[in-house]
Amino acid sequence: MKSLFGIIGIVATCTTTTLSAQEILLPRKDGSVRFLVFGDAGTGGREQYQVANQMLRYSQRFPFTFAIMLGDNIYGSERPQDFDKKFTQPYRALLDGKIEFNAALGNHDDPNQRYFKPFNMGGNRYRTFKKGNVRFFVIDSNYLDPEQVKWLEKELSASQSEWKIAYFHHPLYTTARRGPEVELRAVLEPLFVKYGVDVVFTGHEHIYERFNPQLGIYYFTVGGAAKLRRGDTHPSSLLAARFDRDRSFLLAEIAGDSLYFQTISRLGAIVDKGVIARREVRPPATAVTTGSSSTAPKAP
């Protein structure tokens, strides 16, 4: 396994691959950790329902057991009927199938969402949970107060899990119009590097992006599960893949030292796919894969 994935085996594409419906390119290994990743979904609009239907179709071929939500879970008003229209109804079949949703808070989310049991936040703005050999760190990037940073460092340093995955709303890297959150990056990235975070998932920008490893960490923006900023990704040597022509979500499978992923559009096309090796089994990372100073992370 180690030699097989010693060199990062990414199969990247920026173009939509037309495949038969619900084609699964993930290995579906016994005992693997399988999950759904999506963000910025809670509009209650037609596209959210279409994406949700696609998730359901894929779940039948790729049975995942939980989902991570990258924030902006409920846009606009948050009345009980809004939770129904913008969460429970679109994902009813997944909820009925006992898929566990694990939400992070976005800037459009009332922090009281942490009390909404189906979001599994346990009353906390930030938290950590474990699935198999994977430890997830759910961060509230809207309000990164010193106590949260202290908590994060404590949890990261204590974790013995083979995989460490952080997720939150605001992207530390993005090519989209609003740009990366360089202040958050200045605080979070050193901790991620120091304590061996492998992968970071964020939303906020209504597009899909996958970055070449930055200081050894893979960053994904998966913020287009309902809203879309068409054409809002931009060419960059930092980017490994991007998709901004339709809504999307991501499926992931972690088996041993490998994380396999497949990103799917609202209409079911596969827009990105690949496999990532765990940091500890990869060759030492360089700061930026291109080696160009112009593409180095900006110092905040």
Partner: protein
């Protein structure tokens, strides 16, 4: 309450650099306090504590909220809590917690931090302006739910006086707002806190 190292450093910087307004540092005394900002921040902490004591009494009547499947219950509890907090402090007015003295210090801290911003940070914050809610805050009113909660600048937050979990700072245009998180009530605010 977790007192961040950054906040302590920011206080020390203020001691060195701030000219305090009237009522502070104006007492004629042979032994002025070594740190003239300390009593001001201590007073702020006392006012926050007083609010928290009152809040606890309110929560004791309204009840704590545990995770529930019922959004109706969450919404109803937030409304009850907000109403009870507003009723419990009918005379609340701007400056009750952000007194003029602490407001001067906090505004200076923010101004200093803004002046040190790197270009990428400045760009990020300018981009965030798109998201900033555009309303004039009022004490004892709800933070309008029609607006997103603007992300608080991550490098500024550790410089401000710490707050208990139940409270948070938010930037609304040039205002710094003190918000009760669960009740969504504006507890106090200070105008002209954030530089243009």
């Amino acid at each position: 309450m977790f007192l961040s190292l950054d906040f302590r450093r920011a206080m020390l910087a203020l001691v060195a650099g701030v000219t305090l307004g009237s009522g502070l540092g104006c007492k004629k005394s042979n032994s002025p306090p070594a740190d003239p900002t300390k009593p001001v921040f201590d007073d702020f902490a006392k006012r926050v504590d007083a609010y928290m004591k009152l809040r606890k009494q309110v929560v004791d009547t309204v009840g704590e909220l545990d995770p529930t499947r019922s959004q109706t219950e969450i919404t109803a509890r937030a409304s009850r809590l907000a109403a009870a907090i507003i009723n419990a402090r009918p005379q609340a007015k701007p400056g009750d917690i952000f007194t003029p003295e602490v407001a001067t210090l906090i505004a200076t801290l923010i101004k200093q931090e803004y002046s040190r911003r790197s270009e990428p940070v400045q760009e990020t914050r300018e981009d965030q302006q798109d998201e900033l809610p555009d309303f004039a805050p009022k004490v004892n009113e709800l933070y309008p739910t029609t607006y997103p909660l603007a992300t608080f600048p991550a490098k500024l937050l550790p410089l401000l006086p710490p707050l208990p979990d139940a409270l948070e700072y938010r930037v609304v245009q040039r205002y710094l707002v003190l918000r009760d998180v669960e009740a969504n009530v504006i507890i106090d605010y200070m105008p002209n806190a954030v530089p243009l």
